[in-house]
């Protein structure tokens, strides 16, 4: 399927989802749906670096917060100087640009690290950024920042519906981007990085350049998901914006869905995101992360390749998988005598 066709189908599905949400006729659907969609974008973005390239990023919250706080900064500038109010798509583009630039910088500084060391470096980035924001009075510091959002938007109605629609479109853009990468030369290059960087270089793949492309795209998409967040929540506070939830969820969702394909993060985010929303309403909001933890442990043990891997396995059902898998023996360190 060609990318424009895929994009069109996604748009039609998005329109149906929006129609269905309106048909239910309860504003809470939009509030809960927004969070699920936000996770579709975040986990798709995480998967571009984590799933395709194999670099585990624990700093999702940092990029998300960069988007959110760039919106807050612009909001403060506008209200204090009485400029015109910037439309949401512009805020999203700015948030994406800021997070993308930081993603590029982080990549440049840390991509010579591998495995756990890279993960720790991304975690450190989140801590550093949180410290900066807490000490930056202009965006509210540790007190947090209030955003007064408009009551309604022409044509669409309640503002939450507008935010929901925006996030729906962002999800479509993120999924189309991920799928486009997956089926392109870039996607092949990313997969070689995940498999074996030495062999990739020996095959002519410019691994450092490709990793920088991945961190930039991944960071930018996370920032775009964060930009509308202050308008959704109304009161933005550093502790929750940099919360562990974002990092854990955006890793758990692709892992549960399957990391090798764009469908994985989508399935994982819808499944886990909805489950969390239901748990929040029916049990308690604290059960959220417990749900993630239990499901993640179950999947890591029972279906390490996620739902996509499980489905593929049963469809193909290769005979040699029954006989038993031979493990590929490749040394990690290269051939240093």
């Amino acid at each position: 399927m060609r990318t424009p066709t895929f994009f069109l189908i996604c748009l039609i599905v998005a329109a149906l989802v929006f129609g269905a949400a309106i048909a239910i006729g309860n504003d809470y659907v939009f509030f809960a749906g927004y969070v699920v969609l936000q996770y579709v974008v975040l986990s798709t973005a995480w998967n571009i670096l984590g799933g395709y390239c194999g670099y585990v990023n624990f700093g999702t919250a940092a990029f998300f917060a960069l988007g959110a706080y760039s919106s807050v900064a612009i909001y403060k500038l506008v209200t204090e100087n009485d400029f015109f109010r910037m439309p949401m798509p512009v805020l999203i583009l700015i948030g994406g640009a800021v997070a993308g630039i930081v993603g590029f910088g982080m990549g440049y500084l840390t991509l010579r690290l591998r495995g756990a060391f890279f993960a720790i470096a991304t975690l450190a980035l989140a801590v550093v950024l949180q410290t900066l924001v807490v000490n930056w009075d202009f965006v509210g510091g540790s007190r947090g920042a209030y955003i007064l959002r408009p009551e309604s938007v022409p044509i669409i109605g309640a503002y939450i519906k507008y935010l929901f629609l925006i996030m729906l479109l962002l999800a479509v853009i993120a999924l189309t981007t991920a799928r486009l990468i997956e089926h392109s030369r870039l996607g092949y290059g990313f997969a070689t990085i995940r498999d074996d960087e030495l062999a990739a270089e020996a095959s002519g793949v410019p691994t450092l350049k490709l990793k920088l492309i991945a961190t930039t795209i991944s960071g930018a998409l996370m920032g775009m998901a964060g930009a509308p967040f202050p308008y959704y929540i109304g009161y933005l506070q550093p502790d929750s914006t940099f919360g562990l939830d974002y990092a854990v969820n955006s890793i758990a969702m692709p892992l549960i869905g399957g990391t090798t394909s764009w469908v994985g993060p989508l399935i994982g985010a819808i499944l886990l995101g909805s489950l969390q929303q239901i748990a929040t309403v029916t049990i308690s909001s604290a059960v959220n992360l417990l749900v993630v933890g239990v499901i993640l442990v179950a999947f890591v043990i029972l279906a390490p390749n996620g739902i996509v891997g499980l489905v593929r396995h049963y469809w193909q059902h290769k005979p040699d998988d029954i006989v038993g898998r031979r493990k590929v023996e490749t040394d990690a360190q290269g051939t240093v005598p």
Binding site: S203, T330, T335, P337
Partner: protein
């Protein structure tokens, strides 16, 4: 890369190359020239620095000392992927397949990233045909859609070689591509390498199997403990008392 140096006919030129890991001297003052179209055998006991030399030539490791020139220009400090694009291909001693990709996709990578980078754009169908042709040459065409995990070690070595060939190199370094292969399989690989050489590809063969080295090489270089101790015609090198003592035992 047009220059007036007399050595322009040499495809690869290594000058006083040195590499150390901490206090361990892996390579010391290695100088070596390989002419265009040559078939060179590189031998030496385990740990003599053969693979380190390959890694320094290909940019996997950076040498601290000396210089490497390839195809008329210096390649010191140039990243490994750029050297591959210049026409320097190698197979790894321990096979390093892309484990999440089918065999045909393994072969596709150098075509997408090396051949295409030289400005040669092939259609997807052409690339498929080329991949299959390469796999057929190493006898893996029947498993083209299979995964590397289902291959034997021997088949993985063949895949390594096919992947190195896919980048259409000027110089191919085969790092122990034949270890563990049967008699007839060795013959197959040797025929393949000779055919490549006939097409103009310079080949450096690193091998422990002396029969293969002797029948393939027009010239042999011997490394022992990071030093080059012999360089010459195969028969002469084999008669060299120092080689006999150091490499073949007392």
């Amino acid at each position: 890369m047009n220059n007036t140096e007399p050595a322009a006919a040499n495809l690869l030129e290594i000058n006083n190359l040195g590499k150390r890991f901490g206090g361990f001297v892996a390579l010391e003052n290695i100088s070596l020239s390989v002419a265009k179209g040559e078939r060179l055998g590189l031998i030496g006991p385990n740990g003599s620095g053969k693979s380190t030399l390959v890694n320094c030539i290909c940019g996997t490791l950076q040498n601290e000392q000396g210089s490497v020139r390839f195809d008329g220009g210096p390649v010191d400090g140039i990243a490994a992927y750029q050297r591959t694009r210049l026409g320097l291909a190698r197979s790894f001693q321990l096979p390093r397949p892309f484990i999440s990709m089918s065999l045909i996709d393994n072969i596709r990578i150098p075509i997408l990233y090396t051949v295409a980078a030289r400005g040669i754009r092939n259609s997807a169908a052409d690339i498929d045909t080329r991949c299959m042709e390469l796999l057929r040459q190493v006898g893996l065409d029947a498993k083209a859609r299979g995964m590397p995990k289902d291959l034997t070690q021997v088949e993985m070595r063949k895949l390594e070689l096919a992947r190195a060939m896919a980048s259409e190199p000027k110089l191919l370094i085969a790092d122990e591509a034949m270890a563990g292969l049967t008699h007839s399989e060795i013959e197959d690989i040797l025929t393949l390498l000779v055919r490549l050489n006939d097409q103009g590809v310079t080949v450096i063969l690193i091998e422990h199997i002396m029969r293969a080295v002797m029948s393939f090489s027009r010239r042999i270089v011997v490394l022992v403990s990071g030093k080059k101790i012999a360089d010459g015609l195969p028969d002469q090198v084999m008669r060299d008392p120092e080689v006999e003592r150091a490499y073949l035992g007392q």
